[in-house]
């Protein structure tokens, strides 16, 4: 007989209620059709939750340099390394997969140990939604459902598919209702738009600032024509969008950011909120996880690691084991490395890797777009894995500590930040590789993302057609992809999925000069037709 337990889906911040049933042999997803937020509906990520629980590649024992070891030996090693590094040489990094209460516990531990380095390694641009603009309200479910004018920046539908149904209901509720989409790619979401503003990749903030200036004539310091030209859109189109979003019409503004598509994450976030403020509408930043930045910036931490100041690194979260090369090539300089993982790292990574329980196997407290949610464990802990508190116990005991929220930015600060970005804007030629975050692409389970989207005109230039292969060489890595000729991308732009680490490695890490934060923006690449299939795209090689 099977038992079903319900919890809140951990894979994005929509807060969907999902059920997991266990028949004594296998975990399967179930659907809570009476749930207020999602009515039983689940996106591909939510549907794959049960696959994670009993996946054959789950890690069930600690690994030391790729070899099996015991928890007792691992504990002794951690304590020994901690004594050798000292509190001043220890760095703690958290990334995707950590809930709010777990991050608070990490902050408490860092204070207790006195380590100077505590950073958020979640370098996805969506984390820049931590930047808030003063005077902008958070949208509620009712705001979305009753909206008559909506602005969506980026691919919100793919970031939170279940959140999109209320938007579509609102769009179709009345023929006068309007949906405006600002994006660099012609995604499926753009097919629903009444006004689609297609901008050059990475220039969304300029189009948004121009839109805000058209909505609020009192906004000074924004040259509408200049900003529209930088974004590659006509002023008339922005005026049509501004008319659809006029302040007296109830609605909301939603924004999403994707790795490899955003060049100015903080400005992108703040410019989206500036439009919301100018249009007098509430705002939601759609993202998969909400993690505070941490007292040490990730870029500063990378500098400290490169300078040899960090002797021991404790990394807990989803990105490290698979993103070793593209995240921190300087990591080789750290003598002792400890990471938590749910899956067996492939390829093996040096240092100590500790098996952690998956999201569905432990209780946690997390945020959602629509309020705070609590998650209950719905599956038994995987054999050999341990809970987060137990793993932290190897470093020391600490209580949860408060994490200070960032101070809201002023409109003047946003305009000044934009002026800096405009001054630094340079025209350049060549192929531009951008990223797409597909909901189906979670961890490569359903879509291994071995295709690259190429515009029909570019396909002619490259003399390739569907199912041919092209070799893409980026600043830090190269890989081969199968061509899919598509109208989603404009000429000169290529697009790959960024859910798998192999593709993400093509996008080098940069630094946002305005905030000093790490940026994963569009990459300049070289492309040529591969005469024969040059091997699976999974073989990304460092250049």
């Amino acid at each position: 007989m099977s038992t079903t337990r319900t919890t809140t889906c951990p894979f994005c911040l929509n807060g969907c209620t999902s059920g997991v049933s266990f028949d004594g042999y296998q975990y399967r997803m179930d659907y809570a059709v009476d749930a207020h937020v999602n009515r039983g509906r689940l996106c591909p990520r939510g549907n794959s939750a049960s696959i994670v629980v009993d996946h054959p590649k789950r890690l069930s024992y600690p690994l030391l340099d790729g070899r099996e070891t015991t928890w007792q030996q691992a504990g002794e090693l951690v304590r020994q390394w901690l004594r050798a590094a000292g509190a001043g040489g220890l760095a703690i990094v958290y990334s995707r997969g950590r809930a709010a209460d777990e991050v608070r516990r990490l902050h408490g531990l860092a204070r207790e140990l006195g380590t100077p380095y505590l950073a958020c390694g979640h370098v996805e641009p969506e984390n820049a939604f931590n930047h808030r603009l003063a005077g902008v309200e958070d949208a509620t479910l009712e705001d979305v459902q009753s909206a008559k004018a909506m602005l969506l920046v980026g691919d919100v539908f793919n970031t939170s598919p279940v959140a999109s149904w209320r938007m579509l209901e609102a769009r179709y509720a009345d023929r006068k209702n309007r949906l405006v989409v600002v994006d660099s790619l012609r995604t499926r979401q753009s097919g629903f738009a009444h006004v689609f503003v297609q901008v050059r990749p990475g220039t969304e903030p300029f189009a948004l600032l121009a839109l805000a200036a058209l909505l609020d004539r009192r906004l000074s310091g924004v040259d509408v024509d200049r900003h529209a030209a930088l974004a590659g859109v006509e002023r008339g189109l922005l005026e049509t969008a501004a008319k659809a979003l006029e302040p007296k019409t109830p609605g909301f503004v939603g924004s999403a950011m994707h790795p490899g598509r955003v060049r100015h994450p903080a400005l992108h976030s703040l410019a989206s909120q500036l439009v919301a403020r100018a249009a007098k509408k509430p705002f939601t930043g759609f993202r998969e996880t909400a993690l505070p930045f941490g007292p040490t910036g990730f870029s500063s931490l990378r500098e400290a690691v490169a300078a040899g100041k960090v002797k021991m690194l404790f990394w807990t979260g989803g990105l490290y084991p698979g993103s070793y090369h593209e995240l921190m090539p300087e990591l080789d300089k750290v003598e002792h490395r400890v990471a938590t993982a749910i899956f067996v790292p492939d390829p093996p990574i040096p240092g100590l890797v500790l098996p952690l329980t998956a999201e569905l196997e432990r209780s946690s407290v997390g945020g959602s777009y629509w309020g705070e949610v609590k998650r209950a464990p719905v599956a038994s802990p995987f054999s050999g894995s341990r809970g987060f508190a137990d793993v932290l116990g190897l470093l020391g005991r600490a209580e949860e500590a408060d994490v200070a929220a960032p101070k809201p930015e002023s409109v003047e600060a946003v305009i000044a930040m934009a002026a800096g970005a405009v001054a630094a804007e340079r025209a350049s030629d060549g192929w531009l590789l951008v990223g797409e975050k597909k909901a189906i692409g979670i961890r490569g389970f359903f879509d291994d993302e071995e295709t690259i989207l190429v515009n029909a005109a570019d396909a002619g230039r490259l003399e390739v057609d569907d199912e041919d292969y092209v070799a893409v060489k980026g600043p830090v890595a190269e890989a081969a992809f199968q061509v899919h000729v598509s109208g989603q991308v404009p000429p000169g732009v290529l697009c790959v999925g960024t859910n798998v680490h192999r593709n993400r490695a093509l996008f080098p890490l940069g630094v946002d000069p305005a905030t000093g934060e790490t940026v994963v923006g569009p990459a300049r690449v070289e492309v040529e037709k591969a005469g024969v299939k040059v091997g699976p795209a999974s073989e990304t090689r460092a250049v």
């Binding site: 659907y31 591909p44 794959s48 579509l168 995604t187 499926r188 359903f446 109208g487």
Partner: protein, 155 residues
């Protein structure tokens, strides 16, 4: 009256959640396929459980049969030899030519689940619906889709 999956094209966002739900349950089998129309339109293709199924007629081993009570066109995975005749015969392209565990993949409308197919329950926007055939309230499909695409507009 028999129930069937109906797609409201106006609401499909192409997230492929239907496919993920199907694969999660059937151990890697995606019994619902999808097709792309242009750059921005996406169509899930599920078995229509035809009145006179051509896949059943084409099957050389009578592995596919139409259930007289429920009207479902069901396949026995144990007896399927993977000859792909059903995939070639299906006029809607709803059966994939790729085999899994040496058998063709055929939708059974989640006959193991009383609440209806998983793809319908999990569809994030409610684009997939499980309705009685000929039901008066059957959704008008594709009205908005037609309105937002130049090919379908009157000049």
């Amino acid at each position: 009256m028999a129930k069937r999956i109906v797609l409201r094209m106006d609401y499909c966002i192409g997230c492929r959640s239907c496919e993920a739900a199907c694969r999660s349950r059937f151990k890697g089998e995606a019994r619902i396929r999808y097709g792309e129309v242009g750059a921005t339109v996406f169509l899930p293709l599920s078995c229509r459980h035809c009145e006179e199924p051509l896949c059943a007629a084409a099957c050389p081993f009578d592995v596919i049969r139409k259930d007289k009570e429920t009207g479902l066109v069901l396949r026995s995975s144990f007896h399927c030899v993977g000859c792909r005749s059903c995939a070639l015969a299906c006029p809607f392209g709803a059966i994939d030519t790729r085999l899994l565990r040496r058998a063709s993949q055929k939708c059974s409308l989640c006959s193991d689940r009383t609440e209806g197919p998983r793809c319908v329950t999990s569809c994030p926007t409610g684009a997939l619906q499980f309705v009685e055939v000929g039901e008066p309230g059957e959704p008008r499909v594709g009205v908005g889709y037609a309105a937002r695409h130049a090919n379908w507009r009157r000049p």
